[in-house]
Symmetry: C2
Amino acid sequence: MPNEHAGDGYPTRRGGPSVALPRRDPVVYGGVDDGPLDAETMHRYGDDGFLVVRGLLDEAEVAACRREVRRLATAADLRGDERLVPEPDSAELRSVFAVHRLSPVFATLCAAEKLVAPARQLLGSAVYLHQTRVNCKPGFRGRDFYWHSDFETWHAEDGMPRIRALTVCVALTDNHAHNGPLLLMPGSHRTFVTGRGSTPGANFRTSLKDQTVGVPDEDAMRTLAAAHRITAFTGRAGDAVVFDSNCMHGSNGNITPDPRMNLFVVFNSVHNTLVEPFAAAAPRPEFLGSRDFTPVGPVPVG
Amino acid sequence: MPNEHAGDGYPTRRGGPSVALPRRDPVVYGGVDDGPLDAETMHRYGDDGFLVVRGLLDEAEVAACRREVRRLATAADLRGDERLVPEPDSAELRSVFAVHRLSPVFATLCAAEKLVAPARQLLGSAVYLHQTRVNCKPGFRGRDFYWHSDFETWHAEDGMPRIRALTVCVALTDNHAHNGPLLLMPGSHRTFVTGRGSTPGANFRTSLKDQTVGVPDEDAMRTLAAAHRITAFTGRAGDAVVFDSNCMHGSNGNITPDPRMNLFVVFNSVHNTLVEPFAAAAPRPEFLGSRDFTPVGPVPVG
């Protein structure tokens, strides 16, 4: 049953138009001594809701990731597996979920200190993997990802209580202006925009291809875009953007020949583990919202 | 019957993969004394296949155009008219064709010397209106326009013999990096890439929403993009790009709140008027390929 208790600070999908609610949680939970990020970087992340890290992966790591995606895309034992999501208009691969479970290469990478340490520092606690995926956005026909706050979905459909999660998004191909780069609204993470509609059963089966439920309505988006403007994360393969789970983002499609393939590694605080969904009858499957809360990497003391 | 005579320099849609053929026609037909463009500008157009003109329309003209589009979009007597094309995924307006016939505002603008004179100069003769349209690319759900050479379609489906036409594309809203700006491949106008497949009857009924026939295959596009790179036309409302009819172009979709509305005015040389289609059973309707070859504006002597 949906978890519609009175204490829900982020009521969403209750019908009617989108409403803008203030964020009730910190953005930066840790301190400058808790990890590799310096004070200025943490401050910028607090203001913008994201930060760009150049060269997080080297060429060999990027190449290994891309080989793994090619292997998974064609693996005979994964044919028809629901973790592999095709494009809405073609059979081409749109997303692969739970890559850390499907691939030792991604398992190692998702537990690497250079990814985990900033997450732990910003979230001020040990962290675990809530979700991992690769979005392929193939050349010529990669479709858009509509505007959304990840947290809205994770709260509504997975039962994530508070805003204390983030994504490390790593470019596995060059992300340039024309191949559908990630668009973010700096500062939008301080506003929780409630989703329209209500969640139908097994919504994820369509939403992973084309999200229409839980997205903010157009009036809310116009207001948010006017207040925060839109900026693109562009960079070379290996560059990364770390973004707050409530930062409004999306991306356009891709008609260029160059695929825009990105790895998304979602870290959640161990103090923010999943309960019952807040706006759905049943939680989504494990590959979308993990209930294995085992911390990754060394656990901080205290 | 298709016009498959032996002298067709641009055979297309004959089955098999796309083939790259050399352009058999000039790019710049006129001289520096034939109009307002200076030698350097004409040279650049010859090299790139397009040129950008800032501030071609003033604010009042832009506002008048946008009012006209709003009027046409909701005009009771145009409901169901085939010149108004909806988006593939929604009822929102994607394109309005033959705006110079539907609207006195556009009729006046499309005959204005500031649009016609550069066309006449570059094409080296009197010109007439082959096609006019507004592509609305609405905010939030404007879909892409896949890569194509206009000339390929006009040759195959309208019976345009040679490459001696161009488009004046005027921004009616700001065109920025994120709302699906026109993407062009500089220099691609010197190569004619044959279209795959053959033309089904009344192809235009689907191609105006989602073009799949006559487009180059992916191998050809990869080669072309590698040779020519991709550049975006961005600018303020009122800015324009003039591009050769064989310049490869397309645009991504638009999830931003800002519509990307552009006027396209296609001028063809009066020495290049339409004959029978080169790769279709019957010509497309008048609103797509006009057979009224009356020159617009003053006709040059000689």
